[in-house]
Subunit: 224 residues, 2 copies
């Protein structure tokens, strides 16, 4: 295999992992800002998001340059998967920003008397992301496949939080605004788990040259 | 230029436009189902979404095969942009499905007495998508650039609808559930406009080899 290309691939993977660590930081900060009612911390998420956005552009350009040097179809798959993962990370950054905005708004209001356990759903979503990225680094499709069903747990928890809030709103119409902020934040976390699932599916595709997206784990052979 | 590659590019463009017309149909049906309280029509959106999902997989594979034959970096950009647009169209299909689910739920409840003008925000979002795709077909970066600021109008309209509903919920706590369905549907339409904006940004990038994403229309030169 072409050594120049291999070095490029390593660099691409490294850029992606750096981008991923920024995305994780952004989500962690946003959730912490939300739970601890910390508007300053929420403001810092905006800067994280800018860094992440910049990475997406840089990775795209790097990948396109790399594609001109790719000797084999398998390599092309690796590069295009990296571009897709980068796009998912960028959107995780956007969701972190949305959570941070809600955190700022909520920090101005008195807290609602409802135990929502946002940290738990956030931890689940971030664990999924971490596991998907580890699977990418190790090219471990078994580990990547194990991430995918965990999305259902996050969906269920988000639905539970949504229902708690909807019920609370009926009983306390004066805090509907706050409840809507919490609902949107929980939904953003649920979407972060969706992006982690996308990453895991891309890793399976990369490893197995199968496309399991949109098939509910049922794998489909790819035409040669 | 390689003729074989050119024919492949044409085929890729054609697949993308067919996929786009399915996405437009799905959104139109979902919004119609919502406004006309038509659960049967809402069910048909699920089938549309399946077709769209299948197209995403097909386009990805086709694009990767095509990349192996691409003689120049400009061609690679065309192919990778097509993959990105396909991903946005796939997500538009997902949003249409979400709207359709809310339409089914709302069809079971008595209508709320609030004039929301969902058809208008939906028409704005679909117009943006159509304009972005036309710009893609015609490789017209001026037309693509004109799409981008229109996203603000959709954002404002979604915020207006959100506020109307939040106010209505305070006054009518018994219909909070229905109001939340409408809120989610309006937010889905707003996200469709976001995807249309992504498509427009990709077209500008394709035409100008500039990346205007995340820069608020401020263009950045791409490193050679």
């Amino acid at each position: 295999m072409d050594n120049h290309f291999e070095t490029g691939l390593d660099e691409l993977r490294q850029k992606l992992l750096t981008m991923a660590s920024h995305a994780e930081t952004a989500v962690n900060r946003a959730v912490q800002a939300l739970v601890q009612r910390d508007a300053d911390l929420a403001n810092r998420v905006k800067e994280d998001d800018r860094v992440i956005d910049h990475f997406e552009i840089e990775i795209d350009e790097f990948a396109i340059q790399l594609l001109t040097k790719a000797p084999l179809a398998t390599n092309l798959r690796m590069v295009t998967v990296a571009m897709k993962i980068s796009q998912d990370l960028e959107r995780i950054g956007d969701e972190a920003s949305k959570i941070a905005r809600r955190a700022r708004d909520l920090a101005l209001e008195p807290p609602i008397k409802l135990n929502l356990d946002l940290p738990r759903i956030a931890a689940l979503a971030l664990d999924m992301l971490k596991a998907a990225l580890d699977a990418f680094v190790n090219r471990d499709s078994t580990a990547a496949r194990a991430v995918i069903p965990r999305d259902k747990e996050v969906d269920a928890l988000n639905k539970h939080i949504h229902n708690l809030l909807a019920q609370y709103m009926v009983e306390n119409p004066s805090v509907i605004g706050c409840c809507l902020h919490w609902m949107v934040a929980s939904k953003s976390i649920e979407r972060i788990a969706d992006h982690a699932t996308n990453v895991a599916e891309d890793v399976v595709y990369l490893c197995e040259a199968l496309d399991i997206r949109h098939s509910g784990m049922k794998s489909q052979p790819v035409p040669a």
